[in-house]
């Protein structure tokens, strides 16, 4: 049987990769994708702990996280589409309306 710490380390690695991708990438869609990677790293940690503690509650939480991620993806992509219609770009550097 695989120890739970392996899964936990994998989740930490995925979260860090998501953070790096979020900072390195410059277009909104890829940054949004890296947020999804971070959410999934959280899911993996939840399920690893659910098995280690022998409880089902972690899996229920993951179910809710996936639902909320679906709603978030719908609204976020709608906002990205609106930004593209107005500014004809999705580079995050060009989102400078609030720059002083």
């Amino acid at each position: 049987m695989i120890p739970g710490s392996y899964f936990f380390i994998l989740s930490v690695i995925l979260f860090i990769l998501g953070v790096i991708a979020f900072f390195v990438k410059r277009d909104l869609i890829t940054q949004f994708l890296s947020i999804e990677v971070m959410l999934n790293a959280g899911n993996l940690a939840f399920i690893a702990f659910a098995r280690a503690l022998n409880s089902l509650h972690g899996q229920v939480i993951v179910f809710f996280i996936i639902t909320v991620a679906a709603a978030e993806a719908a609204v976020g992509l709608a906002i990205i589409l609106l930004i593209f219609r107005q500014k004809k770009t999705i580079k995050s550097e060009d989102m400078n309306l609030m720059k002083g």
């Binding site: 390195v24 869609i29 993996l44 659910a50 098995r51 280690a52 229920v60 179910f63 609204v75």
Partner: protein, 165 residues
């Protein structure tokens, strides 16, 4: 056998995310993430969570990523994303990521003890999960359905074109 499967899926998953960092094409990025999420679904299966594994593959690798690919098709940048001009942000992100990894390891050191234990061996059946979802978590479940409706209506209102123009 289980170890081999775990390392195979973990390498596929991490490799796909690293590939996303180095690729410039958004459509490839989305497809690489489909691969990563499908591999993650397999890992959930290894963690004796079959229902969550199936949900992960159907909803994440299926529905959500298809939504992303549709939006990438609609945006359809002709010239692609130009290479980064500001190199210092990359170094800054590397430093921040290193700090974050140290922080996470320090914060999680205590919980490694709990994780190295034998843990639950039995498969968490969808039946038990459904029972928990519809008894103890009934109110969160209903609130989630309201959230989905609100997100749906919000997304449609946001992207709707004005008729009078």
């Amino acid at each position: 056998m289980a170890h081999f499967l775990f390392f195979l899926l973990a390498i596929v998953c991490v490799g796909a995310v690293v590939g996303m960092i180095f690729s410039r094409n958004q459509a490839y990025n989305a497809l690489l993430l489909v691969l990563a999420f499908a591999a993650l679904g397999g890992i959930f299966g290894l963690l004796s969570a079959p229902f969550i594994a199936v949900v992960q593959i159907i909803i994440y690798a299926g529905a959500i990523m298809v939504l992303f690919i549709f939006v990438i098709m609609m945006i359809n940048l002709r010239e692609g994303i130009p290479p980064e001009k500001k190199k210092w942000t990359i170094y800054l992100s590397a430093v921040l990521a290193f700090i974050l990894i140290v922080e996470l390891i320090l914060a999680a050191r205590g919980s490694f003890q709990a994780l190295t234990g034998p843990g639950g061996e039995e498969i968490a059946s969808p039946k038990a999960l459904g029972k928990l979802l519809f008894t103890e978590y009934l109110y969160p479940f209903e609130i989630t359905s309201i959230l989905i409706i609100a997100a749906l209506v919000g997304a449609i209102i946001l992207v709707k074109k004005k008729e009078e123009e």
